[in-house]
């Protein structure tokens, strides 16, 4: 099975406190640690397991700049066979549809049976996989948390739905699936693994290579544009307990007693 996995380089929210920058145009990027989007990492692991099971190859693709190449290489170190970087100044500030358009260009250059994305990334939109499938006119399922290869034409898949239930379906290949976290246990990649793939060439494609018009992507193609960032105010906010740990513990115990929190 020929599998393409779409990955994105994102700020690592487990490692950083995400804050709005001083003029509200973006997030504070000083000292930010970046990594592969968590959902995408599960998708790559799933692709590798499927390939090891039924044969074929895994290609990892990312839309981004030189720094995204590191992320592609890291995922290759997990065991993907090849990588692709889709990079062009014209891709800057693409909206979800723009990113899907760029990825479609890469899909059209290959011959893939299965295309995986992470269910969502840092912006929480969960949109690129579904858009890509619609552009390619392929069947799609989101939030996939199990995949079983039935034969070379069909998969049995599970989708995570409300309440921890799982919706089981059969889906025809080729198809696009967006992968939910927890579907597997992604393998650890050490520095040695990354060294092993350090010399492998990662081809880079721009608008021309992908047969795209610059107007269809990037800032000029975007119909959905982020205007600013601000700090959300969802509610009145918690009453913050201050003081020494001892004082805080004492206050908290009184509150918990009053609310029935200590039996």
């Amino acid at each position: 099975m020929e599998i393409l996995v779409c990955v994105k380089r994102v700020p690592d929210t487990a490692e950083n406190e995400i804050e709005v920058n001083s003029d509200g145009t973006g997030i504070e990027t000083d000292d930010l640690v970046y990594s592969v989007n968590e959902w995408d990492n599960y998708a790559v692991e799933e692709a590798i397991q499927i390939r090891d099971d039924v044969g074929g190859s895994v290609t990892v693709v990312s839309v981004g700049d030189e720094e995204s190449e590191e992320v592609v290489r890291r995922e290759m170190a997990m065991g993907a066979d090849s990588g692709l970087l889709l990079s062009d100044d014209a891709f800057e500030s693409s909206d979800g549809k723009g990113v899907a358009t760029i990825l479609k260009g890469a899909v059209d250059k290959g011959n893939y049976d299965l295309i995986l994305t992470g269910a969502q990334a840092d912006d929480g939109a969960a949109q690129v996989g579904g858009m890509l499938a619609a552009m390619l006119d392929l069947p799609y399922a989101s939030l996939v948390n199990s995949i079983e290869v039935l034969d070379d034409k069909k998969l049995k898949i599970g989708r995570e739905v409300e309440g921890g239930n799982q919706e089981m379906s059969e889906i025809e290949l080729p198809c696009v699936l967006s992968i939910q976290t927890g579907i597997n246990e992604p393998r650890y990649v050490g520095i040695r693994g990354i060294r092993k793939v350090a010399a492998i060439d990662i081809p880079e494609y721009g608008t021309g290579d992908l047969g795209l018009s610059a107007e269809s992507v990037g800032e000029s193609g975007a119909k959905v544009k982020r205007l600013d960032y601000f700090v959300p105010e969802l509610g009145e906010g918690a009453e913050m307990l201050e003081g020494s740990t001892e004082e805080i513990v004492e206050k908290l115990i009184e509150l918990l007693k009053a609310k029935g929190g200590i039996k």
Partner: protein, 320 residues
């Protein structure tokens, strides 16, 4: 403004809470909006009448083939019946996430995910409010709705419109719905496994998130729960890491809990997690990041590393 439609999700013949929330969302989008509800399924007559109490018009799309209508089939149906340029509001739940991005491509409309508010329109530019990074920051998003829009609305972000004063009419749109064949066939729904404890029935929960850092540290939370007479629950990353059973997970993709007291320990507070906490409990948030979204919804907050704070609290309770 273009016609506004809402997509009604339902379970066992009962409309989801979002059916009434989308009325409020439509009115915030356009003050004089009279949205039309769209209901797709099989055996939905009573459901449509129910929805018509809140909508001036309900479009019913009903055939046997739609009894297990997944997003793939529903997308084709909606593309067929919705006028070009419509605005469709969809709950941002697991169905809406499956349906809407692809529908926006098929209808050549813009898509805005997980919207929590609207800030008005200027010509064909609509400004929506969203969040990124799991709720850590908010954004204003401008979208060009000249060609229509598919907008997913976060469940719970808008108050339900309870007026039920519409006494609307149900219009049968089942006649011409196009091709309902699909390359993705529904098989069955597998119910979540039942675990050793039922967190949905507990009054006090000590809930842990990423801040617990390591499987071995879960003991700290268990000790506190024991001291309080509580049970340990968790957020999604703990289950993904296979440190606790799925049945202990609070959130829209896990269990919906209704405790009296909820101790959120090292939990940032994504909307998916908060969506699983009902009944307005007393929420205590303990997190070393003062900007964690959980502090906005908690009653009491403590800026501390749970690894240091929880054992102190446990010791103090044990000494009572």
């Amino acid at each position: 403004m273009a016609n506004i439609f809402t997509y009604i999700t339902f379970k066992d013949g009962v409309p989801d809470d979002s059916a009434l929330e989308l009325v409020t969302a439509a009115k915030q989008l356009s003050a004089d909006a009279s949205p039309t509800a769209v209901v797709v399924g099989s055996g939905i007559d009573a459901l449509c009448n129910d929805v018509a109490a809140s909508y001036a018009e309900v479009w019913k799309v009903e055939t046997e083939a739609l009894s297990h209508a997944n997003a793939e089939i529903t997308r084709n149906v909606l593309k067929h019946i919705l006028p070009q340029g419509s605005i469709l509001l969809v709950p941002h739940d697991t169905f809406g996430m499956d349906l809407s991005p692809g529908l926006s491509i098929k209808m050549d409309a813009v898509f805005v995910a997980d919207t929590i508010g609207f800030e008005g329109t200027d010509g064909s530019t609509l400004t929506c409010i969203r969040q990124e990074y799991g709720g850590a920051v908010s954004t204003h998003v401008a979208c060009d709705i000249a060609n229509g829009a598919i907008i997913n609305i976060r469940p719970g972000a808008f108050q339900p419109d309870e007026t039920k004063a519409a006494s609307g009419q149900v219009v049968d749109k089942s006649g011409d719905i196009g091709d309902v064949s699909t390359k993705r066939v529904y098989l069955e729904t597998v119910a979540a496994e039942v675990g050793d404890v039922d967190i949905t029935k507990e009054d006090v929960l000590v809930s842990i998130g990423r801040g617990i850092e390591d499987e071995d540290n879960i003991e700290i939370a268990e000790d506190l729960a024991k001291a309080m007479g509580a049970v340990v629950s968790c957020s999604r990353p703990i289950v993904d890491a296979k440190w606790l059973e799925k049945s202990r997970q609070v959130g829209t993709s896990g269990q919906t809990v209704k405790p009296k007291v909820y101790m959120a320990c090292g939990i940032s507070g994504s909307f998916q997690h908060l969506g699983g906490i009902k009944g307005n409990p007393f929420i205590v948030a303990i997190n070393k990041n003062p900007k964690a979204p959980i502090f906005q919804v908690a009653d009491v907050g403590i800026e501390a590393d749970i690894m240091d704070f929880l054992p102190e609290l446990t010791d103090a309770i044990n000494e009572l």
